[in-house]
């Protein structure tokens, strides 16, 4: 299709660069400098979609961020992005866009049948109509019928990046006022950032004020670009304003590399020069394609050299639309201006002007073809054939960011709109954003009398009638009005609808617009992609993963890795053709029969030193640290103030004034921070130093009946004959300086060998070489889970939750024995803490298949829904040859021997409650020959 509405001259497009694009499968052309909106209009395409609820034909109300009517879906390769404003889509060669919310096309939409039921689909209809028997019965059908674009189902393949910047002055908006403000600031040497949502700098000067205004803007831009202290960010939408003058903006990048950049800006001062948005007038049929804002029509002529209609009617209640009418007339349109006011000092050469008249309705199906003109009482005076209606109900300063900053708004009678009032942050509004809109001589006209649908919010199909219903039903607060009708929600965020909506509500309830107030403005000002917020922190980067010091060694051994507590750890080392479960069972058997090597480097390691270290740890642990002799180790629980178990581990006394505290693998950073917090905030009298040394030590654990022989074979100066369980030694292992701890999470004799992180792979290689005669098997986390469950060793966060107390784990003995106070002790005396029916850790044996973790224990004779506890850990035990499980069961220890019913995903199982230690209950294997 040729560009039938493109003017022969004028505009800021580059006519030498022709761009080809497709819309709804049809080929079009445009020019560099066009948006999708201007290019479609240049090609005579006014109908671009269907409305949200009624599926009415919709076209362009505006041609920029203010237009929530012409939403499109843009495809780039395999990527699809819905609900983009056509006026914000920069035209490029090969662009492919589609209409939304219509099937099969905007011209022939099957769901247009909704218009027949429109009288029933008023505000709140579904709140009242679909409540019986259950809203969810109807929800799916309603959601399918309503809505706009369809969210893409595939992964977002685009990349998004983040950047920070600080500056002395941030100017939002590069129109005439913004350019002036930026120049004023930059000339003083202030580090200045100028952010403009449009791809072109100049704002309204691009289409209003003639060549002088455009030249002034060009000159200002050139001067700013030449200054080293100025950064100009075009295509950058500032969408959020937060405390301490922090603002967020999204920059749309060129079509290569990252697609968008999220800016986090902090400014000494902010100048809001974001301009104002023209308001529609509310009259019957004001949503028909071909009805648009008068300023949009003027901009199409001035900036894009598009004449949106040849027979135009301009309908206004203020002087600003006279310029638009004149511009259309100069461009060759036949223009009639309908002014609701009795008279005006403004003029529009070549334009027929009707005073004291209104457009009360429109005619047309998929495009406007006539305006019905009436007097103020609603009496029809004439019908004006037309293909364009430009409307101007005044202007609304863009106050969203100012309001987000915490600033107060006030209603300005002179412009009949809200303007920035008192600021609470260093922010100033200038130009149109401050209400400096020239002489409007506006006379309020919030709703034109007449029958028919008069749309206030085009994006959400909210009419003046809907607002009247809300008022009748006493939703008189503007916040209630918004929620009841959806006025100002969605992609529009009230840009064109807010003031009209609240003024109509005010008129119906006898309140001036200023008394009605506005809804709360919240970020984002304009829709942004969720990907921009996430930035690069997606996929494997979503959560920082630590790699083991000997990672490459594990890779070479064929380890299957999974994330465990923020670490990328071997789950198992499956042989070819072996399943993960089979590998884990094989590895567990090896630990029971020979020797196993487990990389325990993630084990938390914190050194606690100082003359008060023992006193400090006595307060932190349930166990007593001060009575421990150097070179010895003890198991301890850590509680929070509520007495809840938050961590466990073995602590070692290195010297009189020095301890090595081991925490759970995932808890090291958290526990180190907690220890520091207690020292810095509560116990400042204690002279203690806490150092998290986890990253400097790699820990390789040799475990199994042959572990001691293997350690001897490695070569060590540590006396293994005098090295019983829960002891600690320092010496050399395989020629490396090492710390060795006799502690076990497998139930077998174990030696936890810690060496410098950089030596981890070397030690692993040495262990593997010397371990071959002992059948050494590297084992992963899955095997460790089997081994520890067989022994009944608990895993914090797996076998415990946010309510578990020491007694629930059968560990009340340590509490009773301890003479001194410790964190959480007092909470253990609460009535709830001593209830006999608390969930207690027990074992479960079943003759059936392995129980599912999370399976619930049913009360005897009960039905699913009443739980007596749940399975926390469950494995098939290679050592016992049967499934075993740990569970938290109500009054579990008093129910040993009882058979219970468990329920999981509709299936019931039977199991017997037993002690939670399934293997080597006496602990003989731990001692490795030592008593």
């Amino acid at each position: 299709m040729t560009q039938v509405l493109r003017l022969a001259n004028g505009g800021l497009i580059d006519r030498t660069r022709m761009l080809r694009f497709r819309f709804d499968g049809r080929d079009f052309t445009g020019h560099s400098g066009d948006t999708l909106a201007s290019a479609l209009l240049a090609n005579g395409v006014h109908l671009v979609g269907r409305s949200f609820k009624y599926h009415r034909p919709r076209g362009f109300v505006g041609i920029g961020q203010e237009d929530a009517n012409a939403l499109v879906r843009v495809a780039t390769g395999d990527q699809v992005e819905p609900n983009l404003k056509a006026g914000e889509v920069v035209l490029r060669d090969g662009l492919e866009a589609f209409s939304i919310n219509c099937r099969p096309s905007p011209r022939h939409d099957l769901r247009a049948v909704h218009q027949i039921a429109a009288p029933l689909l008023i505000a709140g209809f579904y709140y009242k109509t679909f409540m019986w028997p259950n809203w969810h019965l109807f929800e799916g059908a309603i959601r399918r019928a309503a809505g706009l674009g369809t969210a893409p189902e595939g992964r977002d393949l685009d990349r998004y990046v983040h950047a920070y910047a600080d500056c002395d002055l941030l100017v939002v908006g590069a129109g005439p006022a913004g350019l002036t403000a930026a120049l004023d600031g930059a000339r003083t040497g202030a580090r200045t950032i100028l952010a403009e949502a449009d791809f072109a700098i100049g704002g309204s000067a691009l289409w209003r004020g003639g060549s002088d205004a455009a030249e002034a803007a060009t000159a200002a831009e050139a001067e700013l670009r030449a200054l080293p202290n100025v950064t100009i960010l075009s295509r950058t939408q500032v969408f959020g304003y937060y405390d301490h003058n922090a603002l967020a903006a999204v920059e749309y990048l060129a079509d290569h590399g990252a697609r968008q950049r999220l800016w986090k800006l902090r400014a000494g001062r902010v100048i809001l020069a974001s301009g104002a948005i023209e308001r529609p007038l509310v009259f019957a049929g004001n949503d028909r394609p071909g009805v648009m804002l008068a300023s949009a029509a003027q901009a199409l002529v001035g900036r894009f050299a598009v004449l949106p209609g040849r027979r135009a009617v301009i309908f206004t209640n203020n002087d600003s639309a006279y310029d638009a009418a004149a511009a259309l007339a100069v461009a060759g349109a036949e223009v009639t201006l309908v002014d609701s006011r009795p008279a005006s000092a403004a003029s529009a050469p070549g334009v027929r002007i009707l005073h004291d008249r209104v457009v009360s309705a429109t005619k047309g199906v998929r495009h406007v073809r006539a305006a019905i003109v009436a007097d103020r009482a609603g009496r029809i005076s004439e019908t004006l054939p037309c293909d364009l209606i430009g409307m101007s109900g005044g202007w609304s300063p863009i106050v969203h960011l100012f309001s987000q900053s915490g600033g107060k708004l006030r209603f300005c009678e002179e412009i009949q709109g809200f303007v920035p009032g008192e600021a609470v942050q260093p922010v100033t509004a200038v130009g149109g954003a401050a209400g400096a809109l020239g002489t409007l001589a506006i006379e309020p006209l919030w709703e034109v009398p007449g029958r028919g649908k008069k749309f206030v919010d085009f994006a959400n199909d909210v009419t003046a009638h809907d607002i009247a219903i809300a008022m009748r039903e006493n939703y008189v607060s503007v916040e209630h009005l918004k929620r009841y009708t959806t006025l100002g929600m969605g992609v529009d965020q009230g840009k064109t609808s807010n003031v009209n909506g609240l003024a109509i509500a005010g008129a119906l309830t006898g309140r001036a617009p200023g008394k009605v107030g506005t809804t709360k403005f919240r970020p984002p000002y304009s829709p942004i992609a969720l990907g921009a917020l996430a930035g690069p922190l997606v996929g494997p980067l979503f959560r920082p993963l630590r790699h083991l010091p000997a990672h490459d060694w594990h890779v070479a051994r064929g380890a299957l890795f999974e994330e465990h507590g923020g670490w990328w750890r071997p789950s198992a080392y499956p042989h070819v053709g072996e399943t993960l479960e089979a590998a884990a069972a094989r590895e567990a058997r090896a630990a029971r029969t020979g020797a196993a090597l487990f990389d325990g480097s993630p084990l938390g390691k914190i050194e606690v030193s100082g003359p008060d270290a023992a006193r400090f740890l006595d307060r932190v642990y349930v166990g007593t640290a001060s009575t421990l002799r150097p070179g010895r180790a003890r198991y301890g629980l850590m509680l929070n103030e509520n007495g809840v178990v938050i961590d466990d581990g073995v602590f070692v006394r290195l010297a009189d004034d020095r301890y090595l505290v081991h925490t759970t693998s995932g808890g090291a950073d958290r526990i180190a921070a907690m220890l520091d917090e207690w020292l810095q905030c509560e116990w400042r009298d204690l002279d203690v130093v806490v150092m998290n040394v986890g990253s400097q030590w790699a820990t390789l654990t040799v475990s199994g009946p042959s572990a001691r022989d293997l350690l001897a074979a490695l070569g060590t100066d540590i006396d293994l004959a005098d090295f019983p369980h829960m002891r600690f030694r320092e010496g050399r292992v395989a020629g490396l300086p090492a710390r060795v701890l006799r502690a076990s999470f497998t139930g077998e004799a174990s030696y936890e060998i810690s060496v410098a992180a950089g030596a981890a792979s070397g030690l692993a290689t040495a262990i593997a070489a010397k371990g071959a005669p002992f059948g050494l098997t590297p084992i992963g986390v899955e095997a460790i889970m089997i081994l520890r469950i067989e022994k009944g060793y608990l895993a914090i966060g797996v076998d415990t939750d946010g309510t578990t107390l020491p007694d629930d784990l059968g560990m009340a003995g340590g509490v009773a024995r301890k003479g001194s106070d410790f964190i959480g002790r007092r909470s253990l005396d609460r009535p709830d803490a001593v209830r006999p029916d608390r969930l207690q850790l027990v074992g479960l044996l079943t003759d059936g298949p392995r129980l599912a973790v999370g399976a619930h224990v049913l009360r005897e004779g009960g039905v699913p829904g009443v739980s007596d506890g749940h399975v926390t850990s469950s494995v098939d035990s290679p050592a016992l040859g049967r499934p075993i499980a740990l569970a938290l069961i109500r009054a579990g220890r008093a129910r040993l021997g009882e058979t219970v019913t468990l329920y999981d995903m509709g299936i019931r199982h039977r199991a017997t409650i037993v002690e939670p230690v399934f293997f080597d209950r006496e602990g003989q294997r731990l001692n490795d020959g030592h008593s």
Binding site: A163, A258, P536, L537, R546, E607, M691, A757
Partner: protein
């Protein structure tokens, strides 16, 4: 996977690439003063709050990271041991557990990475912050900015840098 230093050097940030020099062979020692070690900073010539030198970086109240060349490590450890014997401090050798990168003329990049003003990385200044969700230490040196982080996050940082560049 390429070396982190190569990756950073090849990144294009707003049209600017940076020069990255990995500092291999430096040993790190973490040092914390006790309450009795109030004069430790003066005694050992350590930088004051928020300060950094080529050999020592302030990382928190009464806490420093010392960077030692192999030839100097023994002497430093001996001095620290003497101080520890007097109850003035505790220290822990990190060895090569940290990645140390020297970034040439990268104030703008580091500011963009961290959200901190460039002044935070001025000569003699230290800043602890987060990059890619992990703790990173920056110090302003005469040749640019020194960046230090836990070696166990090396792969994460590399992946993030790859994804975060334009």
């Amino acid at each position: 996977m390429t070396d982190t230093a190569d990756m950073m050097a090849s990144l294009d940030w707003s049209g600017t690439s940076i020069r990255v020099t990995p500092r291999h062979g430096l040993s790190a020692i973490r040092l914390k003063a006790t309450k009795r070690g109030r004069t430790l900073a003066v005694d050992l010539g350590l930088p004051a709050t928020g300060g950094a030198t080529e050999d020592a970086i302030w990382i928190g109240p009464d806490e420093w990271l010392l960077l030692a060349r192999p030839a100097e490590e023994g002497a430093i450890v001996a001095r620290l041991a003497a101080q520890q014997a007097q109850g003035a401090c505790y220290w822990s050798a990190i060895g090569d557990g940290l990645v140390i990168l020297d970034l040439g003329e990268a104030g703008g990049l580091v500011s963009q990475l961290t959200g901190l003003p460039q002044a935070s990385f001025a000569l003699g200044r230290a800043a602890r912050t987060r990059v890619a969700g992990i703790a990173v230490l920056f110090a302003g040196m005469s040749w640019g900015t020194r960046m230090i982080f836990d070696r166990m996050y090396d792969r994460h940082i590399r992946r993030w840098l790859d994804a975060a560049a334009e």
